[in-house]
Amino acid sequence: MNLSYLDSIFEPIALVDESGKLTYYNHYFSSFFKASPRVLKKIKGINELFSGFDILDLLSKSKESNSIQVSKEVLINLNDMSEYHVVFKIVPQDDQQYLICINDISIEKNLYTKYRYQIDELKSIHNQIIQADKLTTIGEITASISHEVSNPLTIASGTLELLKALTEEGDLDSQSEMINTCINDIDESFSRINSIIKGMKNFLHQNEEDHLEYIAIEDSLNSALNLLEGTIKQNNIKVTSPQSENSIVFANPTKLEQVFINLVKNSVDALSNQADSEIEIKLNQTNVCYEIDFIDNGIGINDESKAKIFESFYTTKDVGEGTGLGLAISTKIIESYQGSIELVDSNKGAHFKITIPKMELTSVSNTTLASGIDTDSNFLSILVVDNEPKILNLLNNYISELGHQLICASNILEAQKTIDNYDVDLIITDFFMPQGNGDELAKAIRDKQIETPIYYLSAKIEDSKLKQDMDKFNISGLIDKPFEKKDIEEVLCKVVGSKK
């Protein structure tokens, strides 16, 4: 072997005989072990240069098998007590010598540890910033929240006085209708107060992790508008919101609400002291995403601000009136769900568009089907079709706990697209759904000669209809609503059994 090549290599390299005695080493070998030629001349074997790994054992394996042996990452101690993470590679040579190459990965390991620590720190700081922004928002709308709470309190107080007067008159039977009305009014007032307080508490609840669940965009929008109701009324703003139902995404409900609050509040601030103020919220969909538009007829955003508006700490408001974090945080939140927020060109007012993937897309991309990981015969990939986020979340929890994987669809059209593109082991479908019932889905599946087991999920299906569909579409059974985990487990066990 031409050893001059080895002298040029930037890694510690040595040649040893069968007993581990050094017959050659390059300059970097001497540097790495901090051993001068004088020291290296004296040692009997390479194993004397460090501890923590049995290099002679690896050498003997290489000798026995006459093949290259590579160690896993090991931590060695040199004679000066310094530690290094290395990988050894032993390559047998023709002349009964062995080439030992040492890959020092100490720096990579150290950098990786630091990187992980700093990422965790950043996540923690990011959560603190989000929480601070929430507190600021609540602080800004406290006055109107107080107003909102005092209104129903006043109603309840006044109604209670009336009730007191009625009961003191003594003739309760003749006044029963009025008394019931008073009781209902008081109940509604306290419900309203409860709803406001609960909304605030939920909004302020600090999430340590980004807990994701299936949620309807409309529900998050309504919660946000509920919290801002006082502010909106105070400013005489007309708000129109979407009339659709159950546009389901996979996100953190509190964070999504925070995004909506930030956008609506910005519009409210832009519309203050303006007559005929309007905020229009629209919800549309494409094949893969929902698009939510927030459009106001306020003063708009000047060209200079347009370029900077999504930057942290940029604000057009006076000192003390805005942190400049709302849009920056909102963008980070939406981008974490593979969505986007953009400012749309507009002749009047401001127009923001949020794009967020439909839950069908998110749920497919999160599965092992997309990642290509092999799974055994006990593992099921299950398509659940239901337009109720609560049912999807419940099934998601149960099915994940049982060790299987869930893909979701909120209607039969999305379900069919999923089935066309991916193999699933089981389909659980709600029966009654707004955009098509479970039996239509079953027919479409069987028409394509797909034999995947199908279970209906329903509280209201009649026995005769079930029997008919079992015959016609080979429906495997019914899961009654309300269901428990053991009901799902039973179905999954049956499917696993027949899969084997």
Partner: protein
């Protein structure tokens, strides 16, 4: 315990004496000695305890930012720094001088290695100068001369 890099700087009449202590690594920050506008920079590496590959990168980035016509002189370079100078292109910028450095010498009587401070101009034709211990014993240069003094040719080029 982390031996974070500390830097002490004394500037007089356009000459900066910069003393580096601790580890030169990925966390080292040279901001305090960036753009100091001196025509001569004397770097004293005597108290540098470690320099890893990330530290080398940081050092090279820093050095490349120094003005072209500034004079750069390295003093009291420990063995770990000399080894990096010999291994990594760019550690010695064109025009940089290594004034002094430590070299390992072995004492047979004590069976120990001592680090002796040498001036670069003591190295003639790539040979380590003869050194004696306090007791008069002739010490043996404990490295390969051609490899250890390689940086001198980098300085000349």
């Amino acid at each position: 315990m982390s031996d974070k890099l500390s830097i002490e700087t004394v500037i007089e009449k356009g000459v900066a004496d910069i003393k580096l202590s601790g580890q030169i690594d990925e966390d080292s920050d040279f901001a305090t000695i960036t753009n100091i506008g001196c025509h001569t920079l004397n770097f004293n590496f005597d108290k540098v305890t470690l320099i890893n590959s990330c530290g080398v990168r940081e050092w090279i980035n820093y050095i490349e930012g120094i003005e072209e016509n500034a004079k750069i002189i390295y003093h009291n370079c420990p063995q770990i720094v000399i080894e990096q100078i010999n291994m990594v292109h760019g550690f010695i910028k064109k025009g940089t001088k290594v004034e002094s450095f430590y070299a390992p010498y072995y004492s047979e009587d004590d069976d120990d290695v001592v680090k002796i401070l040498l001036r670069t101009d003591e190295i003639v034709e790539g040979k380590a100068p003869e050194k004696k211990s306090e007791s008069g014993e002739e010490l043996e240069f404990d490295a390969i001369e051609a490899q250890y003094f390689q940086f001198i040719s980098q300085m000349d080029s």
